[in-house]
């Protein structure tokens, strides 16, 4: 089930002084797809997503959701759900209170907060202070916040970080069920094996764009592993582009 471009990045570039974090990145995310945005730490994944969501201004290029810049998109917060690395809960709140505040900001009933708490499996711990939550529980809370408005597009930045194996399996099932409902999911990660089991399309960035397209094309219908293809595109840690993981292990 694919359709129009929901997310569109064109020549997106971000410089911080003399350092270029993202350079000339262009790709599209089509509706109803789960798209994995892959790259090493510091590859520019989060910066690209922040530009997409209007939290950072691009040095050049454009990034749109549903054909508009996020900040110009009518009812943007109702159409796009976001769980972003580095965006943390309100200090001094419980999960239920936090979600009720965000639900209020969105004009949703308080009961919606309770619904999403159940959806992410936090309903029995919803009245505990968020400060005492594990990283995995905070990830679930962030996902609950992203789901509050029942959005058409989910932008999830490193949602598997801190999740235990059960949590990762739960996340995979959740993402698939969201896509089956017709939603679009753009998920960034550096957990290649996990992404390989979850996504339809892959975007690989390492400051510049290295690949954007179906996972099946990248892995030759599964005959090659995503990890091998990833390292062949982004290079080894020392920067020797073209060295595969297998080659590095063999060496």
């Amino acid at each position: 089930m694919t359709g129009d471009a929901v997310v569109e990045l064109r020549g997106l570039t971000k410089r911080f002084g003399t350092m270029t974090a993202v350079e000339d990145v262009s790709f599209e995310v089509r509706s109803g797809r789960i798209v994995g945005l892959l790259g090493r730490n510091g590859a520019g994944k989060t910066t690209s997503l922040r530009m997409l969501l209007g939290l950072m201004l691009p040095t050049s290029g454009t990034a749109t959701v549903f054909g508009h810049r996020y900040q110009d998109l009518p009812r943007a917060a109702h159409r796009v759900g976001v769980s972003m690395d580095g965006i943390n809960p309100l200090p001094g709140t419980t999960a239920r209170r936090e979600l009720r505040i965000w639900a209020r900001a969105l004009g949703l009933p308080a009961a919606r907060a309770d619904e999403v708490l159940g959806q992410v499996g936090l309903d029995d711990r919803a009245d505990r202070k968020v400060k005492g939550y594990s990283t995995g529980m905070k990830q679930r809370l962030a996902l609950a916040t992203a789901l509050l408005s029942d959005p058409e597009l989910l932008v999830l930045d490193e949602p598997a970080n801190g999740l235990d194996p059960d949590g990762i399996r739960w996340l995979r099932t959740m993402l698939r069920s969201l896509a089956d409902e017709g939603r679009t999911v753009l998920v960034s990660s550096h957990l290649l094996a996990e992404i390989e089991q979850t996504v339809d399309d892959v975007v690989i960035v390492q400051r510049t764009l290295r690949y954007a397209g179906p996972l099946s094309d990248l892995t030759s219908e599964g005959t090659e592993s995503l990890e091998d293809r990833f390292f062949s595109l982004v290079g080894s840690q020392t920067g020797a582009t073209g060295t595969t993981a297998k080659e590095r292990v063999d060496a």
């Binding site: 009812r75 943390n88 001094g92 505040i101």
Partner: protein
């Protein structure tokens, strides 16, 4: 905006910041107020002070609460940067302009509550302290004007702190800057260069709560000066918030 304002109002009450600011401001003001109202007989007989003056001094001591109203306003903004919540607030607010306005309005409302609390406690503390010395406070028109000034200063200090928060975006930085300006820099400049000092924000406020020093601005001019400072802070903070990256 209809939904955002109640959400920001709920945020203002989250955590214990409001309680700490209210309690700290009340405690410090109470100490100062009790100091003015103590030894009433001695002040009347030896220092030739009248009961109305002692009452006014004791009530005026609660002007200190405006510092804590401004601290609350600053922390109300800055803690979102410290905690990393600001990104979500921006995303769910629709536009940065709406969030900016909502925080300023809620900061003002919290300042108003702080002002009401300050005025109520000012009268209660003054009554209590003077009664313990066998006197009743002498409430005059001047006392009511001082109380009104304390309330107005608290109301104005709320958005002042919020705007400071947007500009500085760092909790320790915002708190120490506000403390330093209010307690050290502005009073020092007033003493060193009174012709300049009287135009500073917190010194202009002392005209509003009727500090009584002859070198201070008249109240209408003081209000204009305060409006100018708030307008400058508003434009500076808004410009920075609308153009800076949120990381």
């Amino acid at each position: 905006m209809r939904d955002l304002l109640p959400a920001e109002w709920m945020k203002a009450w989250a955590g214990r910041t409001w309680l700490i600011c209210a309690a700290s401001g009340s405690f410090m003001s109470l100490l100062a107020s009790l100091g003015y109202a103590s030894d009433t007989d001695k002040k009347i007989t030896e220092q030739h002070m009248d009961l109305a003056t002692i009452t006014n001094d004791s009530v005026r001591a609660w002007m200190m609460t405006f510092l804590f109203a401004s601290l609350f306003g600053a922390i109300f903004v800055v803690r979102e940067y410290t905690a990393g919540t600001i990104g979500r607030s921006v995303l769910l607010s629709g536009t940065r302009t709406r969030l900016f306005a909502a925080k300023a309005l809620v900061g003002t409302a919290m300042g108003a509550l702080s002002g009401l609390l300050a005025v109520a406690l000012a009268f209660a503390a003054t009554y209590g302290a003077l009664a313990s010395n066998g006197h009743n406070p002498e409430i005059t028109r001047e006392t009511w004007l001082i109380a009104a000034g304390i309330f107005v200063c608290n109301v104005l200090a709320g958005p002042w702190g919020v705007l400071f928060g947007w500009i500085i975006r760092h909790q320790v930085g915002a708190v120490t800057t506000l403390l330093a300006l209010t307690l050290i820099v502005d009073p020092a400049l007033q003493r060193l260069v009174p012709d300049v000092g009287k135009f500073l924000m917190t010194i202009a406020m002392s005209s509003v709560y009727r500090d009584g020093k002859p070198e201070l601005l008249s109240e209408p001019i003081a209000f204009l000066v305060i409006a100018g400072w708030l307008a400058a802070a508003w434009f500076g903070a808004r410009k920075l918030f609308l153009t800076r990256d949120i990381t």
